[in-house]
Subunit: 329 residues, 2 copies
Amino acid sequence: MSSSCEILTLASLCEFLKSHDNYVVLTHANPDGDTLGSAYGLKLGLKKLGKKVQVVCCDEIPRKYDYFIDDSECDFIPETVVAVDVADIKLLGDLYERFEGRIDLNIDHHISNTRYAKRLYLDSDAAAATQCIYEILDELGVEFDRSIANALYTGLSTDTGCFKYNNVTAKTHEIASKLYEIGVDAGEINRIMFDTKSKSRVKMETMVLNSAEFHFDDRLMLMSITLETQRKTGCTKTDMEGVPAMSRSVEGVLVGVTLKETRENEFKISVRTYDPLDASAICSKLGGGGHKAAAGCTVLGTLQEAKAKILAAVKEALEELDEGSDTFK
Amino acid sequence: MSSSCEILTLASLCEFLKSHDNYVVLTHANPDGDTLGSAYGLKLGLKKLGKKVQVVCCDEIPRKYDYFIDDSECDFIPETVVAVDVADIKLLGDLYERFEGRIDLNIDHHISNTRYAKRLYLDSDAAAATQCIYEILDELGVEFDRSIANALYTGLSTDTGCFKYNNVTAKTHEIASKLYEIGVDAGEINRIMFDTKSKSRVKMETMVLNSAEFHFDDRLMLMSITLETQRKTGCTKTDMEGVPAMSRSVEGVLVGVTLKETRENEFKISVRTYDPLDASAICSKLGGGGHKAAAGCTVLGTLQEAKAKILAAVKEALEELDEGSDTFK
């Protein structure tokens, strides 16, 4: 399918958008701030050009994004299907089968994009898909307003950990600056996105922190989330996002390990490392894999057995590291 | 003293900096990223103009700022004293007496500035003092390099919670964009500033979270840090920064209360509220005060007694709120 995917420039993309109408804009499943900000930013922008647009997502949209959701509907027969921030058609979730082979346009920023659409506009240097949408609407001459700014800023801010991660570029800040000039409600958006936790998340964090152990001269921090913890705190999948990152944020810690019980006596282990340690190499010893800084594996046994297995794998890696550094002494 | 304080424009400030030399740049006590980033950014910039500059701080500089600290020294007799990010001369700490009446220039962004210096350049719209320093060095025609960018970015990022708070403006992002063009190591800086906690901080957070109580239909979250917690975790003053903010970050919570035992049977209470609740009004019932969203008071008694007092004060405020909203029903 990839051979039939036409790669668009910004100019040819804008020509396409101007010459088409009756848009259905698709987001990925488990929608986040970037896919939603992109979809509604594009909807609001295209509406200003007199186009008819509808956003479709296979999952329910979390209430916290209400401030930029445009629910206005108008009757029209869908003609043009656009997927935004969707790197692979499988990420459409339950919409996958309905739209397979029928995506006219894909706007994305993931270098891993699988080129499943008829046309693709890809800017893999963009920190967020809303960064692309900003440039597209700007090129189209759309008059930005506060709602559009709020939608686009939400993507920029959530995909960069509020301008914290390495994916941020000069252009990301330049666009943020322009969204401020338009009057974006950034302080309030960031409070909702970054400084608000559910009560069950707080309870879960507390129990996870209580489970924390330090090993190997405090170079490893280990935390565990048992089925019992999950039951007691009533926490959801969303509540558990970002927990593995907590394990790597302690001074001096080179390896953060999180064990999550997925069913009785089965643990999904997440490993996070700093250079020069290789999380993927550690997890491959237990049949898993991933990236150098973040990897995972699944281990069977009791919590104590699972801990013993991952600790042994990390011990080996640390010993190799110590031997390596000895040669420089 | 305020009558003799000359207010400088950007142009007259730059004239002053060009026509003087042998600078001593003072930071405030308990130095943070903004005062240090401003002082070293200014030092590095003025050195590029051939000036001699020394930075002086009454306290030890935390190691985490090492990446922009310029320790190079040269012998000179100090002539021009500049205070950066110092709103009140008392904030100089132990340097106060030595420099009282001798500050030639003050560069600041606090609207509360007490105008203690002979000359003041104040931009109270600037999110950080380094935002002012950027504009000054730019006006002076200094050729920016990565070290200067790292110093200035550190102030921008730490004073705004990484571009999260309400003090951010279009200009803040515009300057951040320019620092990225210069090659700032922003990802690494943000990791050090925002994603690294000491082990004692993690232990302290765990104990504080374990102390969490919810009252009044989960509209109040209360946490306590006893002398015993402080002793057991070995946490420092720095480790305790930001704890009151934790109490207000839970969904649905309108009032966050933190009780910190300062000595046996004495509690410093921090109150954080959301609109329309008034933290200052709540604390004034117990002899304290502050701002609408953040206030404090000191209460004597056991932990249970202190809790009872602040809970009663909050209860009154919530009841007034409920009565107020009844009238709209």
